[in-house]
């Protein structure tokens, strides 16, 4: 199995290479209070499935899949250009086939069979307009059965 936290951080580090994104960040499970009128973004690491692809199972290739979710909180009633540009920049940084290597030497790849996708821009009562980018990923590792 891949190491979860390094994998998340590797994807986050890739996100941090994208210029022009909101400077205010609400990282997963970190306390954060949004400020009215200040755009921000959040990230989530959502593992999904795990399957052994080969035999014998004791040394099988294991494929794990999941989503890396980036949510952009732009300003409501501010049009589509700014949020749209952020979304495009993130999608470009996580194009299908993009690979990131974690500090645990796991390689996490953006899926190409189901590529990343951004939602429509949704204005909320909070004064923010939200756009969610889902980045499907997969990673392979060698199975290890504990003694």
């Amino acid at each position: 199995m891949i190491a979860r936290v390094p994998a998340h951080l590797a994807l986050r580090n890739r996100l941090l290479t994208v210029s022009g994104l909101p400077a205010s960040r609400a990282w997963e499970n970190k306390a954060f209070t949004p400020s009215a009128g200040t755009p921000y973004l959040t990230d989530e690491f959502a593992p999904a499935t795990s399957a052994a692809l080969s035999v014998p199972v004791k040394s099988a290739v294991v494929e794990e899949r999941g989503l890396y979710v980036v949510t952009l909180y732009g300003l409501a009633n501010d049009g589509i250009s700014t949020i749209g540009a952020w979304a495009d920049a993130i999608l470009a940084a996580f194009a299908p086939g993009t690979a990131v290597t974690s500090t645990a030497n796991d390689v996490i790849r953006v899926r190409s069979d189901v590529g990343p996708f951004a939602s429509q821009i949704i204005p909320m009562d909070s004064g923010f307009a939200v756009c969610t980018i889902r980045i499907p990923w997969y990673a392979h590792s060698q199975n290890v059965i504990a003694a």
Partner: protein, 133 residues
């Protein structure tokens, strides 16, 4: 008609029946993944509110989960939908008001539709394998 032609006809009938069966099971499994979660897709399913003292006292959750419907099913299509105002917020994990989205239940989670879509191939493979037996 020759014996070979009879065999071809029988094969075609069998394929059509198995395809319809597989599709019916695929759409049922897809609906189940979104609503109840699935080990095939990793979808957590819809959250069900846990209510207690000082927190919607006397109410019972489950409106979001119950709002999902499977309808208009034909041999080749179906519609999975919801009319709940909470569906978008929960799916995307966004809060309608100030502050972060807070899930107040240990049941279900976010991104069930997205996870189901992303891993739809596992549903198809599983159901196809069943009818192939």
């Amino acid at each position: 008609m020759t014996a070979f032609a009879d065999q071809i006809r029988d094969f075609a009938v069998k394929v059509e029946a198995r395809t319809e069966t597989a599709f019916a099971n695929i759409i049922a499994s897809t609906f189940d993944s979104i609503v109840n979660g699935s080990e095939l897709t990793g979808a957590p399913g819809q959250p069900v509110g846990e209510y207690g003292p000082g927190y919607h006292p006397g109410e019972v959750g489950g409106d979001l989960k119950a709002s999902w419907q499977l309808s208009d099913v034909t041999p080749t299509s179906g519609l999975i939908s919801t009319n709940s105002e909470h569906a978008v917020q929960n799916e995307y994990g966004i809060s309608a008001t100030d502050g972060p989205y807070v899930q107040r239940t240990s049941i279900g989670g976010r991104h069930s539709v997205a996870q189901t879509i992303a891993n739809f191939d596992k549903i198809v493979d599983a159901e196809a394998a069943k009818v192939a037996q």
